[in-house]
Amino acid sequence: MAEINVVPAGDQALALEFENRIDPEINSKVRAADYYLTKESKLKGLLETVPTYRSLLVYYDPDVWDYEELKEVLLNVEEHLKDVAIPNPETLEIPVLYGGEYGPDIDYVAEYNNLTIEEVIDIHHSSTYLIYMLGFVPGFPYLGGMSSKIATPRLENPRTQIPAGSVGIAGSQTGIYPLESPGGWRLIGRTPLKLFDPSKEDPFLPKPGHYLKFYPISEDEFESYLQA
């Protein structure tokens, strides 16, 4: 039996914890447990879950659940999962216009890593990234799987205003800014898609535990996305 632990997080939440590592295999357990609780189990009194790298925060109704009872259910979650077919994670495709005014730091990323701009783009969009979790701001995906060949340190002086949709690199991570915000990521491009659109019934494009892949588009394609 794999290492699994449940700890209280106040009187109306608890944390289900798997092995203490950032690892796609562990994250898939989080996703499975989350799927079981939110989609499969039909358990009442579970209010909200927050899947992260290696743990699942579960908000529950203390009028329905005694902590010890819920802990018991969660400690046995892998048992419960044996007979459950968990759908395969999906891959979210994100169009990116690389370089130019939308990716003002791509030259630096190329120079820093002794690559051409085309090589940076190829390396960045040929990986498939695991969305370990969302956090920081609404719709911000924590992605795993970027090639170390394009790893680049953050800006020393963060920009005060980064447009929504900006795609950047910070150290060994890549990410997308869902909202206009300040930040120190090296910007290499921009997506015309809205990662977070509160007017939609399903407001968030990235989903925790799923995958994400970038693909390059031209300026014309970028414009036509914006008009769509």
């Binding site: 209280p8 743990s55 956090g135």
Partner: protein, 339 residues
């Protein structure tokens, strides 16, 4: 129906309701009223749904012009409500206002947040099942932002009868120092015994860095065993995280949903409304309770709150309450029909 024009917003005023739930998995904070008790009572006093949208103001309330006859109430932090300069009302007291009336809410003298509820509740768009403003996400409330003045706010139509004023002796108390019950964990094992003792036995002060996201405390150092980083995980409401600077931060309604600092303890749910009224400079200490103790005290809290809601929700049958203003003095008058 347009009911109110905001002339001056006050230092920090947003539209809030009970909160936006179900989206923390996508990085969306629940937001919602910081002091759930006073917020809900305000609505019930006006005969609204407990969860109707209200204005949450900080330090001082807004100055308003009434555009349509309605009723309103101010609840939460202690303050005085002036109508047309000379009519003074208490908090937790329904106020019937007429088109053209000028309403000014004075500075708060106990607590830090007040709620202005209007009959029917404010009519702002429902975004992802809530009307709460979430500033960091730039959504909800009035155009996803705080009020600046000159806004015209609408309210829903309501024919419900008004409830009753809450007598002063029953108002929630927000006097510091605050002793806050906590449940240790989820990462209490990241702290030394000395660190835990400091956390539980010493007094902390709320710093100037205190807003709807969280309160940074100052005080003695809460020492970690080793590093002050965890693999980022979910942050529950009331979580008390301690970064490398060793000063605790209490995470409130607009908190980041995930974070990488160890959480030494989590405030029990019945403490959140009081924390919502704690302000920079207030003294704070923490008391560890077991889950069983927390549940028992939560039951007391629930009964207390239910008592208040039942009291204010009762329409004043056979009773009339009104304000009399004689020579600049204000009188709260109750008349009861006798058989």
């Amino acid at each position: 129906m347009q009911v109110i024009k905001v002339i001056e917003s006050g230092p920090f005023t947003t539209v809030q309701d009970g909160g936006r739930f179900g989206y923390q998995r996508y990085g969306m904070a629940p937001a919602g009223a910081m002091d759930e008790v006073s917020y809900q009572l305000g609505n019930l006093i006006l005969g609204n749904e407990a969860n109707a949208a209200s204005l949450e103001f900080t330090l001082k309330g807004p100055r308003l012009e009434i555009l349509h006859d309605t009723a309103l109430v101010v609840t939460g932090g202690r303050c005085v409500v002036n109508v047309n300069g000379h009519r003074k009302y208490l908090i937790f007291e329904p106020i019937e206002v007429k088109s053209g009336d000028q309403v000014d809410i004075e500075w708060i003298t106990e607590g830090v947040r007040g709620y202005l509820a209007v009959k029917g509740g404010f009519d702002v768009p429902l975004i992802m099942q809530s009307r709460s403003t979430y500033l960091r996400g730039k959504i909800g409330g009035f155009e996803g932002r705080r009020l600046k003045g000159e806004e015209v706010l609408s309210a829903f139509q309501s024919n419900n009868s008004l409830g009753r004023a809450l007598p002063e002796k029953q108002w929630p108390s927000y006097l510091p120092p605050f002793e806050i019950d906590v449940i240790m964990g989820p990462q209490v094992d990241f702290f030394t015994e000395e660190g835990i003792n400091t956390f539980l036995n010493e007094t902390f002060q709320i710093s100037e860095s205190a807003d709807r996201m969280g309160y940074r405390l100052t005080g003695p150092e809460v020492v970690h065993v080793d590093k002050a980083d965890i693999i980022s995980d979910g942050i529950p409401l009331g979580a008390i995280q301690v970064p490398g600077h060793k000063q605790p931060i209490i995470m409130m309604k607009d908190r980041q949903t995930t974070g990488g600092y160890p959480k030494i303890a989590t405030a029990v749910s019945y403490e959140i409304y009081r924390l919502g009224q704690a302000k920079p400079g207030d003294q704070l200490s923490f008391r560890s309770v077991s889950l069983d103790q927390a549940i028992e005290k939560k039951n007391h809290y629930n009964k207390w709150f239910q008592g208040l809601t039942e009291y204010v929700s009762q329409p004043a049958q056979g009773e009339k309450h009104f304000r009399l203003f004689i020579d600049d003095k204000s009188y709260y008058v109750s008349i009861k029909e006798i058989d």
